[in-house]
Amino acid sequence: MRHLLSTADLELTDVTAILDLAEEMADVQHRSIKKLPALRGRTVVNLFFEDSTRTRSSFEIAGKWLSADVINISAKGSSVSKGESLRDTVLTVAAMGVDALVIRHMTSGAPLQVTGWTDAHVINAGDGMHEHPTQALLDAFTLRRHFGGDTGSFSGRRIAIVGDITHSRVARSNVILLKKLGARPVLVAPPTLMPAGVDSWGCEVSDDLDAVLGGVDAVMMLRVQRERMSGGYFPTPREYTIGYGLTRERVSALKPGTAICHPGPMNRGLEISADAADAANSLILDQVAAGVAVRMSVLYQLLGGEDQQ
């Protein structure tokens, strides 16, 4: 594995290897000294063209716990508005001797394009509406633990992904990865938030959350982005919550043990109620913790085996 750009690029054996290693990495955060020497002398740059707190912090901690030198570069406002091309920005950063570039960009496909301009390993930390592969991996890691521990545990599991599917990179990465693991994703959204061509994604599609909820093993709520609210995608936040929010009533309609996930940050009271977010079967904080372990695993898989002269 040279880069991590899309969950589509991962073989099932890659996924298993990443998740298995993440289990080992997860132990690090319970140690008093959270440091492994694995990537000593390696430089990881978090090149973020878009705001992010949790993903950037998660990659930063992951890199540091592996002893890599981690540099954060915020290119917010984008190279475009500065007048510099993406290629020039990347060449400039790469010229500093970088081993891995963790890239978040507001435009789909940017990390893939970057691979053509640098020898560094490239990790997609979220590109536009396209993919967020480490989020899907940490979701899988969290659910695997919840379901009981091995990849077989995903087989036949119905997992609802609910909300703004059109604009969600998390949804796209998860659909691909969950199907790869044998699960059956179900996409739920009003038609205005369902992407063109979704019928070809090979999964169930519904606009009726209540009809879906009772028969799923996990429900992943997606964040409703504030800027969408004025875009005519739905009439009012109230109407959205009534139609597609994980309310207290809907939590009670879930089968016992149904996992509740959310990639964060949450809009409490909009797509997810406080009762749901804080429910006993909510895995939301587990997802955050898993993020560090999975990103440590990914960084190690990409950089760990290389000659470190």
Binding site: G128, M129, E131, P195, G197
Partner: protein, 433 residues
């Protein structure tokens, strides 16, 4: 006196008829002082070009070129753009007005014409803006531009979306015999971030897309406005099957609407976008196979009248962004005929007369160019001629282009490479014979 004798060439004239026309078929073509003359009258001093095995067609005319000068001379100049046009077999081109400043005054139009004359590689006809600064709010000086000879007006790159302004533009140009060339695209429906066709690929890749309805709905509206105003509409770069249906409906009702299709919309599909290569980011976007098939069919049956390149050169750094942030457009002057031969002739969709009609006669008629442009060769008229080798093929090399820009979607692809000689206004502007 200059005399040029092209011998042994097979002349394809297109379907138009004219009493003084050069007869179709294999023959010698004599050009004296830039005008067609009787080859039996050639003198011993004539410059002779042996064209055995080659075909001559009326000089190509491009209805839709972006020359970028003034304002973006790092992407293209009139000199380099017309040089590329000559290499592509074009005797004349219409230069779109989205330059900096915009071609929205008579003076600006005259300036473009002067730059074209100075370059001398192809005849350059400015297209005037419909609205001041392409802003879509106030009419540009359509009448004053028309007095300088502008026959086509367009806000290309932007749709004239205000239906009242579009109505006024159509009404206003009617006495001049001019035509409004519309970039048909509902900007509200498409959204500001749209960068590819809305469909399976855009949904999967997470790219905001243009639905086909954004194009077809504006064509339908404009057809009604054209009927209302008894004016003339030209639809730029038609790209969808739905648009073809609307055009058929409008033409059937007798509305004076003409349309063009680009070579790239005849060959390339949405699949090219899979790798997020901004070379394939173009507006309107590349469409799925079924649209391409509909466009080929519509060009063949005349629903779409003409081929136009939408040659859109961009400096390298304007394309070296993420797909959604990169500039729209691709170059196309040098490869246009090759792509049309591949998609229309080699596929059997069109014969050579049909090709002449779509690449020269119809564009000339739509833009009312005159001066021997867009008509079959006639004795006494200025010679505008493209001599081709229909079977010649080559691998496209973007670095061998005369254009200043390299955003060539066919780089590395083998295509027909037929252009051997281009003659514009009686002068040889390109030759590799």
């Amino acid at each position: 006196m200059t005399e040029l004798l092209i011998s042994g060439v097979r002349l394809v004239t297109g379907p138009d008829d004219h009493a003084d026309a050069l007869p179709a078929g294999t023959q010698d073509i004599l050009i004296v002082n830039g005008r067609y003359a009787d080859p039996s009258q050639s003198s011993a001093d004539a410059t002779r070009i042996s064209a055995d095995g080659l075909t001559a067609i009326p000089g190509l005319i491009d209805l839709h070129t972006h020359l970028r000068e003034p304002g973006r001379e790092d992407a293209e100049t009139v000199e380099t753009g017309t040089l590329a046009a000559a290499r592509g077999g074009f005797a004349a081109l219409l230069a779109m007005p989205n330059t900096v400043p915009v071609t929205d005054t008579a003076e600006a139009a005259e300036y473009i014409r002067t730059l074209g004359e100075k370059a001398g590689h192809a005849q350059v006809f400015p297209v005037g803006a419909v609205s001041k600064g392409l802003a879509g709010t106030e009419l540009a000086e359509l009448g004053l531009m028309a007095r300088t000879g502008v026959t086509l007006f367009s806000d290309d790159g932007h749709c004239v979306f205000d239906s009242r302004l579009m109505r006024r533009a159509l009404e206003y140009v009617r006495p001049f015999g001019a035509r409004i060339a519309q970039h048909s695209q509902d900007p509200r429906l498409a959204g500001p971030d749209a960068c590819c066709h809305e469909g399976e690929v855009s949904g999967r890749l997470g790219l905001p897309g243009w639905p086909s309805a954004a194009e077809a709905s504006v064509i339908a509206r404009d057809a009604e406005l054209t009927k209302l105003t008894r004016s003339r509409l030209h639809v730029c770069h038609v790209s969808t099957a739905e648009s073809v249906d609307v055009l058929r409906w409008a033409k059937k009702r007798g509305i004076d609407v003409t349309a063009e299709v680009t070579p790239h919309h005849l060959l390339l599909t949405t699949a090219e976008v899979e790798g997020y290569d901004p070379t394939y980011k173009v507006n309107p976007p590349l469409r799925p196979d079924e649209d391409v098939a509909a466009l080929v069919g519509a060009l063949a049956d005349g629903t779409i009248d003409a081929v136009a390149t939408d040659h859109a050169p961009h400096a390298r750094h304007d394309k070296e962004h993420a797909f959604g942030d990169a500039a729209y457009g691709m170059v196309g002057l040098e490869t246009a005929l090759g792509v049309v031969v591949e998609t229309m002739i080699n596929s059997g969709a069109l014969d050579w007369d049909g090709l002449v009609s779509r690449t020269s006669l119809a564009p000339g008629r739509i833009a009312r160019l005159g001066d021997g442009l867009g008509v079959r060769p006639v004795f006494g008229a200025p010679a505008n001629l493209t001599v081709i080798d229909p079977g010649r093929r080559a691998t496209v090399d973007r670095d061998a282009s005369a254009s200043l820009s390299r955003n060539n979607p066919y780089h590395g692809r083998e295509l027909p490479d037929p252009v051997m000689i281009t003659i514009a206004a009686g002068a040889i502007t390109y030759s590799r014979v």
